[in-house]
Symmetry: C2
Subunit: 898 residues, 2 copies
């Protein structure tokens, strides 16, 4: 006889956690809990074999299924002491679907199955609570009618609303037993009217219809589309879980509660939970009655006037503590446990790893390792790297009151309050006077950098997670909210309107960069505490990881911050950011407006000493650590004067007419600047620009070598390479500059490394041609994502939200690497590059370099390093450690030893 049905509960089970294929995820977990000897409400799982049989045999069941189900129901009855369909003492069950993979779109749950016009009376009597019984019955009718009989739930809601309106009730709790009884009658009438036959009264019919509904839902349209989108095979099928209902609200010897095995807020090793006598699970969270603490100590600490569970139900409490300890030891983590006590009998409804604050997560992970329950490596794997962000920035005081205005995208974490300011210059001025300001703009541009730096936080109404504002703010560690579309900024009027509320420059707002929320006025914040736990975790992480972690930085301040956070070098120094300083921008503009090489060289001569000093300072800070300097990358028009006043200044400096300057500015306009005249294309068409930058690097290097007596080895990164010819030409150019500088310095010795950014699909495909001319590849995954997916990060906000909403993408590809598309190009480039140059250094310097999921991929394809903004360095260190562990201990250690 084939086993179609697997029983669980009463301290044992036919199945176990490993049998997900056969029992589905839910069934396997219920079996696991039962096997631990825990008091799980008894039940059984109809296996996925039955689902496959059902579809292979014209929607019929195996002959012996009925008999196995009946036997299992009898088993439940025996444990619970009730009868399925017994009018005096009825057994109620829940019916749930449960595939191997959790799958929205399938039938979810029917509760209280087994109720009918007779059994509801029995329930009313045994529970001594007719209101509870009829409320349960009407819920069952509504749920069953909806998911089994396909009657839309709004029909039932209308009946309820009508009844409440007629009786002037506001809340469902206003209804008494008689009200629910009347509603039950109306619900049944609605079913009769809609289907032309009565609501089924036979519990067996109810049960088998529910089972059939679960199997049918496996092939409904939503489930099929979901499987197609997520590459889940239709072969797997679903299981059906049938389980006894238990109730904590059948008398004063009943209770229900929720508890954590450790404090989820602080991580302290203490039971933390609440319970209610004679209540349902939902009452604990509904806030109608005040829940009581679990333990005597907690009750004393909170000065509770009500007895703790330890006092009210001492034997059950003792049993619960045993169970809790068992669960924590078995699952080797802090547990979040739901339980019900029915007539002094403890039932475990659910246990799962408990949610916790990042601080608690840290403490628990460290403590569990120190208690010997988990290893240090497991401890490292227990913390979600991204959550560390909470510890690195000020955050809103959870106790502070707040008046929310709107919500945008959480672009850069941390909380900040300040006066509204719409202009970067004004922001800088006010900051000089010591005022805290929040820079509010439709979007930001490189022109605004000084204002962004001066502001406590940045808010934009447009743009996505990798818009200019977002990227720069993360780099600076400024809290930032972007794409808050409800905000309309009117700069000329000096107002900002949010859903009709008009704010002016005298108003204060507060940003929560971790959630994207914007609040009116000032909300109190709390400062970060980099506790001993944090330092210990980082130490354990560094011991494990094989990827190096560099930072994206160009200012001395950022370089120092990143070093404190553990950065092992600069992976990306964006030289163009150095061009926006007030005292430089005019020379930059003179360079752009020059029509002749001679004029351009004159302007570049002004910039040379400034760039040299920039590089020298970075070399001093970073010492022997690598500094990877990218040559000028963005299209020149990014440096154009934004106003007529500035245009006139430039015209004057260049000795040309304003009209000519305007014409030149117009010439520089591009339809698609991202795909335009930028990157190495500038270095090729205006060789004097790159020549100046390379010269500045070498001269700075010689200067710092002379100062310190130690070798500096800069790494020069050529952006936007499309193939070998460009690389050959620029490699030659760099060597020529080196030869010239060497000659000018009496043949002084200096070393340097030349590499390139791989940020175009073509470069990835031609990596084998490029590698002989590059000592490193740095994946510019921001641009590579834009080109591979044909997706402008400045414009994608218009539709990416809908794409996520419709399930077309799992996550923003500018935040987490699109592994299937962009990732394949990374893999191709890595393979082809290393095939011709095995020692080729490979890393990533796009925004993804600080994203844990992307870091895992970097580890998987064998990169050498990741580079990210300073404030993400700790996250990257932890993520790299986890990636190494996931890649297999052997691999990680093997590489470390090599």
């Amino acid at each position: 006889m084939t086993q179609w049905v697997y029983r669980f509960g009463n301290g044992s089970a036919d199945g176990k956690a490993a049998m997900r294929d056969l029992l589905g995820g839910k069934g396997a977990n219920l079996a696991e809990m039962s096997n631990l000897g825990l008091p799980v409400p008894p039940g059984f799982t109809i296996s996925t074999d039955v689902c496959r049989y059902y579809y292979a045999n014209s929607k019929s069941y195996p002959n012996d299924l009925k008999q196995q189900v009946a036997a299992s129901i009898a088993g439940i009855e025996k444990v619970i002491g009730c009868g399925f369909g017994d009018a005096k003492n009825p057994l109620l069950v829940s019916v749930r679907s449960g595939a191997k993979d959790s799958m929205p779109g399938m039938m979810d749950t029917v509760l209280n199955l087994g109720l009918n016009d007779q059994t509801v009376q029995g329930l009313a009597e045994t529970s001594q609570n007719p209101r509870f019984a009829f409320d349960s019955y009407r819920r069952f009718i509504q749920m069953y009618s909806n998911v089994v009989l396909n009657i839309d739930h709004h029909h039932f809601e209308e009946i309820l609303e009508h009844h409440k309106h007629k009786n002037r009730y506001n809340l469902d709790t206003d209804l008494n037993a008689g009200d629910w009884q009347q509603i039950v009658e109306q619900y049944k009438a609605k079913v009769q009217q809609t289907l032309g036959k009565p609501f089924p009264q036979d519990p067996q019919e109810q049960l088998w219809n529910a089972i059939e509904a679960v199997f049918a839902s496996w092939m409904n349209q939503r489930a099929i589309v979901y499987r197609q989108l997520h590459n889940i095979s239709a072969e797997g099928g679903t299981a059906v879980n049938i389980q006894a209902m238990v109730f904590g609200n059948r008398g004063d010897d009943c209770a229900t509660g929720v508890a954590f095995t450790r404090n989820p807020s602080t991580g302290a090793k203490e039971l933390y939970g609440e319970f209610l006598i004679n209540a349902q699970g939902e009452d604990v969270v509904a806030g109608i009655r005040t829940p009581q603490p679990m333990s005597r100590i907690a009750a004393e600490a909170s000065k509770s006037k009500l007895p703790s569970m330890e006092e009210a139900l001492p034997e059950v409490f003792e049993q619960f503590m045993t169970v809790a300890t068992k669960l924590e030891t078995h699952f080797r983590d802090m547990q979040d446990i739901e339980f019900t006590v029915q007539h002094r009998k403890l039932w475990m409804l659910q246990t799962r790893n408990g949610k916790r604050t990042t601080a608690a997560a840290l403490k628990i992970a460290i403590n569990l390792a120190e208690e010997g329950l988990i290893s240090q490596e497991e401890s490292v794997q227990r913390i979600a790297p991204a959550s560390l962000d909470q510890l690195l920035h000020p955050s809103l005081d959870p106790k502070a009151k707040r008046d929310r205005l709107t919500k945008g995208l959480p672009a850069s974490p941390g909380a900040a309050s300040g006066l509204i300011v719409f202009d970067a210059d004004a922001a800088a001025d006010m900051a000089k006077k010591g005022q805290a300001v929040i820079l509010c703009r439709a979007e930001t541009s490189p022109e605004d950098i000084h204002g962004m730096h001066a502001a406590k936080g940045i808010l934009t109404s447009r743009g996505g997670m990798t818009s200019h504002a977002a990227v720069v703010a993360r780099g600076m560690g400024r809290p930032c909210v972007v794409g808050a579309q409800e905000i309309k900024i009117d700069v000329t009027a000096g107002t900002m309107t949010i859903n009709g509320k008009v704010l002016r420059a005298t108003d204060k707002i507060t940003l929560d960069g971790a959630t994207g929320e914007v609040f009116f006025g000032e909300v109190a914040t709390i400062e970060p505490q980099l506790s001993g736990d944090f330092a210990k975790l980082m130490e354990w992480a560094d011991r494990t990881r094989t990827l190096k972690v560099f930072t994206n930085a160009e200012t001395p301040h950022d370089a120092r911050v990143a070093k404190q956070f553990g950065a092992e070098g600069i992976g990306l120094c964006r030289t163009e950011h150095m061009f926006f300083h007030e005292e430089r921008i005019l020379a930059v503009r003179m360079m752009i407006f020059a029509r002749e090489e001679a004029q351009r060289k004159a302007a570049l001569a002004l910039l040379l000493p400034m760039q040299r000093d920039d590089f020298a300072e970075l070399f001093r800070i970073m010492g022997a650590d690598p500094v990877m300097i990218r040559l000028l990358d963005p299209p020149l028009h990014e440096f154009l004067p934004p106003s007529d006043v500035e245009l006139e200044t430039v015209a004057k400096a260049c000795a040309i007419s304003v009209t000519e300057a305007r014409n030149r500015a117009h010439e520089l306009h591009e339809v698609n600047p991202m795909l335009g005249h930028r990157g190495c294309r500038l270095g090729i068409t205006y060789p004097e620009i790159y020549t100046m930058q390379v010269r500045a690097i070498f001269e700075a290097q010689l200067k710092v070598q002379a100062e310190t007596g130690k070798a500096v080895v800069p790494q020069i990164m050529v952006p936007l390479i499309n193939g070998k010819p460009e690389m050959v030409l620029l490699e030659t150019m760099i060597h020529d500059v080196a030869a010239a500088v060497r000659a000018e310095h009496n043949g002084a010795a200096f070393e340097y490394v030349i590499g390139t950014m791989i940020e175009l699909p073509r470069a990835a495909l031609r990596a084998g041609d490029i590698a002989p001319h590059a000592d490193f590849f740095s994946f510019g995954t921001n641009d590579l994502t834009q080109t591979t997916m044909g997706l402008s990060r400045d414009d994608a906000a218009n539709f990416l939200g809908q794409y996520q909403h419709k399930g077309l993408i799992e996550s923003d590809p500018f935040v987490t690497l699109d592994i299937e598309g962009v990732g394949e190009l990374l893999r191709i480039a890595t393979e082809r590059g290393r095939a011709v140059k095995p020692g080729l250094k490979i890393g990533i310097c796009g925004e993804h370099g600080g994203d844990p999921a992307s870091i895992q991929f970097c580890q998987d394809i064998g990169m050498d390093y990741v580079s990210c903004s300073p404030y993400r360095v700790p996250i990257a260190r932890l993520a790299a450690a986890q990636a190494a562990l996931k890649g297999g201990k052997a691999a990680a250690k093997g590489k470390k030893a090599a």
Copy 2:
């Protein structure tokens, strides 16, 4: 003894054409001519083995080389009857480099080697022409000093200029023997002064220095960079060719000439050439003396007063005719022959396949096949497909006078004259009045289509070969010149300035779309003649090709033109082009400005009947041939009102304020529209747009099926797909619309096909996921080139010219497919798509679909069809035939039989 030296001339040779590796290209060809028994001036090739030996052995030569060279020189002396270094009767030789692959950057040529102060006297005497002797000597000194001694040629030019100025000479021909003798002395003095030693007088020293210079030039910087850029191995080495000089200017029994074996202008089978008695090759083309016809018939036809060669040198003429016939038969093509007669002895200097007009090429190819000299298939291979363009459009009368203003890019072939007009509306108005106009704009936009259609030609000052103007003009068959950067258009002033010359709307200009030239005034044109040769070639081509040729067309006119040119279907119908008609654009704008779905649907309801009629007309014209319809593709802002007047009209129609309309327009602005909210992203965020289009297709289909009683099977193409989820969603949407239309038409039967454009790198990589949901892939190589290379076709003109100039790219990747990059993605997509769906139809519909080199690649990777603009259909048919032949006869025939 190793053979280092290979002799040729005097009717035989040691080498042959197949020995390019050893003898280089030049040496191998000289050997081939000799083997044919032709009178080639004798000489020898020092093999590439010597070059390899030279570099492998510290720049020394094999021991026995000297002896072999000496013996070879003696061989030449014997044939020519002169002595190398013989003061009385000197032998002069040329020394040339010659690698396997032609390679700029290496030493080219030294002529007249063997002259010195003694032998020049001997030459003067034997030639009885001291002026010739000393002119030859000074040329030798200059050439030798430059390429062997590294003395810059400007030194010598200054001496010559100074001498001419002093003597008030204008032309070199004003100098007599004495002058040249003086200059020789000054040249020698300059060498002495520069090197501190005299110009070498020993012919042996001259010879060996020249040989060494050739070998040394293999490793000079320019040659190394050239090889790196073109992936040529440095291993190959170069050969050295040494050949006797012969002279046609040593008396009246000497002559020189150039002849074609057939008429290169008409293709007629008649000798066509010119010669001069007692002259040098360069005299024939210099225009100082009038050359004489070769044959008596030609002399009579041209009423020449001078005797033909047939009359003047009858025996030599007879010999020449024998050689010419032999050459044509051997090389199986019309030959362009250079020859010299020295003392009644005929010397063949060079033969090559002769250049010819396209009309001549057609006639010659057809005639050679009909004469049995080549096969029909070879005949098909003889015509450069792109050259057919000349036959399909009017062209400038070669005899007409012209006043050139400037030159831009030749964007669309044909010639046209007309009045300058700067505005599309004005162009349309004037055209209605019967005036010929040329639309001149900085760049064009979809708004200008009616003006472009009304104009005889289009001229823009910006944009590249695939700019909007270029693409649309090619589609319409209008001559077009784009990117004429010297033109400054001032629309408000109504002027166009070209290099200081100001043109107004009363001025006429003429465009030559085949060359990119712009002329002042009207230049006469000649009409195309699609002769019988053309039709015959097309017939032969169609018999051979396996690729189908479709067209890109959306108007009935274009569809009909393309059908006449042989298109077998519509491969790309761009539905958005149908949106710009005057009577539709308002409804389109109402759709865009709608903020609610209901408003948008109302606007779409206006468009539905128009689109339905469009599609119905195309279905009627194309009959059973496929029609592939692409759903809306461009970003919505392309349809925005360009002026305030139009904005107000739209605001009124939408019942919104002008301010709100402006805000909405602003919202639609994108930073990088190419990577923005467009393609299927529109269909996903505004499903009602695609729903309307798909419904219009099905309704049109049912209508035409009802009219004709024959099935129509439209092919619906979804643009800008990034992966499977989008495709699944839109596939479902299309099926849903089909079901709705079917239900509305009483279950009427209709078929349709769904496919997608592969135009993003990600789509190419994920082709295996997409193919199960698509019946065809259409490669949108315009966009795929933009994204793969990160290159905006609207902006690339700023630097692509320099890239080509610097040898970084071979051709404009928007004209000829970038096979290494974009091509690899095409290959990947084809392999992955066919791996899961072997019958997947695959084609190309970008601009490359009409480019012969790209068509070859399409054939190579196994595509099913190419689609191109109507006027390129004949080119594509021929190119496809050639591609099939190149792919191997067996493959081509095998596929046809299947």
